[in-house]
């Protein structure tokens, strides 16, 4: 009797030891490696961003170098005036003061056809944040010019909810929203798809459609940049 009681006891002790050993092994196997490789991919991303920044500045430098060269070595007086006008036009295009056309994407956000007369909930409103988010993603993916329902995005554009409606620079816009974008159509389209805007707008009963076009026209901003409080910062002032 005493001997048969020892067997379960032995087995219990051994089981405990084995369990402990397994636990230790599992732990030693599982730690560190994962966290560290995540760190590295993060750093690679950082490096990539820094290198892109480097590239952007280099391109700017060569652009302005070229401009400086044209100023300093004019064929004649009229020529350098022409260069100045061209530079002004370039900045106007960039800032939204001139209309632009080129390849791009047209995004429309419209009511979804509800076949069974589902009640439109308060969930079905597009908010200013939604439009800001889209514009932000598009610019982040290399868009050159954007307008929403004909309102060009400028350096100081604001999109905000005022009461029930959305205002772009104090102009009221309403559904359907049409966003005209100039940029690489494929890149812009995939950026939109990647962020899951289709699914997102489905939730609020809106249909978003993307159309790649060879010719998109983005109108000019119909206002003027306000400058009252700032002046150029001169070297050493």
């Amino acid at each position: 009797m005493r001997k048969t009681r020892r067997i379960p006891f032995t087995i219990t002790v051994i089981s405990v030891i084995i369990g402990y050993m397994l636990a230790v092994q599992f732990r030693s196997y599982n730690t560190s490696a994962v966290a560290e490789s995540k760190d590295i991919s993060q750093m690679r991303q950082d490096l990539q961003k820094v290198m892109e920044h480097h590239q952007r500045i280099l391109t700017d430098i060569s652009k302005y170098d070229q401009l400086l060269y044209e100023y300093e070595n004019p064929q004649n007086q009229a020529d350098s005036l022409k260069t100045m006008k061209e530079e002004l036009q370039r900045i106007k295009n960039f800032g939204g003061l001139a209309s632009l056309e080129g390849k791009g994407l047209v995004i429309t956000i419209d009511e979804m056809n509800l076949d069974n007369g589902e009640e439109l909930s308060s969930l079905s409103t597009v908010f200013d944040d939604d439009l800001r988010y889209i514009v932000n993603e598009l610019f982040g993916s290399g868009a050159l010019a954007i307008s929403i329902n004909g309102n060009r995005m400028t350096p100081t554009t604001s999109i905000r909810n005022v009461g029930e409606s959305i205002q772009v620079d104090n102009k009221v816009i309403a559904v359907p929203y049409t966003i005209d974008v100039i940029g690489d159509p494929d890149v812009l389209e995939s950026a939109m798809k990647l962020k899951g805007f289709e699914e997102y707008f489905k939730i609020i009963n809106k249909k978003i459609s993307l159309k790649k076009l060879d010719k998109v026209v983005v109108p000019a901003y119909d206002g003027k940049g306000m400058i009252r409080y700032m002046k150029p910062l001169k070297e050493g002032s």
Binding site: L47, I57, D60, Y64, L68, N136, F139, G142, K231, P232
Partner: protein
């Protein structure tokens, strides 16, 4: 009979036990040696990456200064032309204005600094997301400032322009595709009173940040703010022009 049975049991158990121990020792040994080698190379890789990043950042600083010098020279020769010709004078004035507005030159003026920071008392249990600054919080503030008449804005030294994006990639916030970390200092040039009033309006941005998040917000009026220039206006243009040409041919 009984004695034999116990013997069999013990033999089996001890055999298994011995096997497990030896296997375990070997296994842990192999893992610890390989993992230490692993971390060694990981560590080296990290070190190299870090050096590269720092090196790039140093070069960027130099290049940014160089770009600034060239821009200065450009406007110097434009000024000379303006002094010679009446027509050039007009263009010059317009150029200066649009350059300030689009952020292509550094500017100064009065305004405010809004700084957004992650909450300092981060509880272990609560949802961390409610305690850190998200890119949409920054966008909200920026949007409100522009709507209240801000003329120029920079975030942690990155000047905003037409095609600026404030994005989030993983845990990092990118402004103009440049990595930035909290606290996010949003410097805005404009009439300080108007800007502050707009932000503090009941139901406005500051109130909603207070209600929905735990991030720390600070406002500061400034008599003089210096904002840097935006860099990168030509690369996008070149790319888009190139893609348009490609389509034509």
């Amino acid at each position: 009979m009984k004695i034999k049975k116990i013997h069999v049991y013990l033999t089996l158990v001890l055999l298994t036990f011995g096997f497990m121990i030896s296997y375990s020792i070997q296994f842990t040994k192999s893992i610890s040696s390989s993992s230490s080698a692993y971390t060694e190379t990981q560590w080296e890789k990290k070190q190299k990456l870090q050096e590269k990043i720092l090196d790039e950042q140093k070069q960027i600083q130099k290049l940014a200064q160089q770009l600034q010098d060239i821009k200065q020279k450009v406007s110097d020769s434009e000024n000379k032309m303006g002094a010679r010709e009446a027509e050039a004078q007009e263009i010059l004035k317009e150029l200066e204005e649009v350059r300030m507005w689009t952020g292509l030159v550094p500017v100064q003026g009065k305004g405010i600094i809004v700084s957004l920071n992650d909450s300092s008392n981060l509880p272990d249990s609560a949802n961390v997301n409610d305690f850190i600054v998200h890119e949409e919080n920054i966008r909200q503030v920026v949007n409100e400032l522009f709507s209240a008449g801000a003329e120029a804005i920079s975030i942690n030294g990155q000047r905003l322009s037409t095609n600026s994006a404030i994005r989030c990639v993983g845990p990092t916030v990118l402004v103009n595709e440049v990595k930035t970390v909290p606290p996010f200092e949003i410097s805005a040039i404009g009439e300080p009173e108007t800007l502050v009033t707009a932000l503090q309006m009941p139901g406005g941005v500051l109130q909603s940040l207070k209600e929905w998040t735990n991030i720390e917000v600070k406002l500061e009026k400034k008599d003089r703010l210096d904002l840097p220039a935006y860099a990168g206006d030509s690369l996008n243009q070149m790319r888009v022009e190139a893609s348009n040409k490609e389509g034509d041919s």
